[in-house]
Subunit: 200 residues, 2 copies
Amino acid sequence: MENQCGNSRIAGCSFSVHPMSDQFVSYIKGSLQEVDTSNVWMKTDDVTTTVRGRMEHVFDVTKAILLHIAKTDVHVAFQGTFSIGCPGDSSGDVYMEETTERLNEKDTSDIQQYSAAKFSLYPMGGGDYMDTIYSQIEAMKEKGVTVSPAHYSTRLEGDTNAIFTGLEDVFRETENSGSSHTVMTVTISANSPTHKEKQS
Amino acid sequence: MENQCGNSRIAGCSFSVHPMSDQFVSYIKGSLQEVDTSNVWMKTDDVTTTVRGRMEHVFDVTKAILLHIAKTDVHVAFQGTFSIGCPGDSSGDVYMEETTERLNEKDTSDIQQYSAAKFSLYPMGGGDYMDTIYSQIEAMKEKGVTVSPAHYSTRLEGDTNAIFTGLEDVFRETENSGSSHTVMTVTISANSPTHKEKQS
Ligand SMILES: [Ca+2]
């Protein structure tokens, strides 16, 4: 448990991406060759990959890694814990690029990919977040994402770009509502055998 | 976001297990044939599997599902969010078997399997949990688990049975310390290509 706290609002995501294939390594390497990670700090070990930086870059990079694998039509699962604030953060391994330009948006915005997801928000630092969460979930519905309750989470179905936009918005607005430490867990499944009739 | 609260202390885990193989379905089905799930409520959809019941049965079943896949030597990743308490729980789909006998222990206790894991504890309902967490982490070290800090989490390495014992103990003692709603995220990797020299 790390308890150092920096001053800047570095966001991060500890994630894993699992192409369900004997060739999982080449799927991941292939995706990483297409993803521009120059605006974030990123490190992979045997359990997870950690990406840190400005919130928009963290979402941009994680979405791009998933989409560049999913576009090959392999069944792929993504699991990530997005985090901002203290405790749980550390001041080390910081990389806060000043630009807000999303380096991967141009290559991912055209990828139409159905996925199903579950997310849970844990605002642990106070704030007036319940109204925020409900209004952001309503906004997801207006973007074409199907929302339903699930055990311990909220289920989302629809276009992966729309799902990521919704996830980033609800995470950002929860932090803006005053939560000093916000955690969001996300699990996404793309190209599941059970999705065949819904896929684009 | 579900906000119903029951009275009983139903634990649950929303998890995914990812054998990195073209035959991922048969690995999962093969494991499930060996796991006794009769003491829990369990349901799988395209994103996650949810298991609910007494805390010991939730850990017993999730560990068994992972170990029966890992013992085949396939590279497998497990990701689970363990949860107990409100909000986030619902009173539906309850199954609280009275017995505390762990139905899968006899078949899993002999499986020696190295794994690496990361876990994060989110005690969201108060309680005096920091001392509890630190003492439970010390207890893990005494059981032979290697513990080190990681971004947003604590890293564990060692025998999978010892890791699950440590995870269950820290989860249980955090709840016992007075946390009315406790969430723990766990990511485990077994038979990773980078583990070859450490595997048993
Ligand atoms: Ca597709």
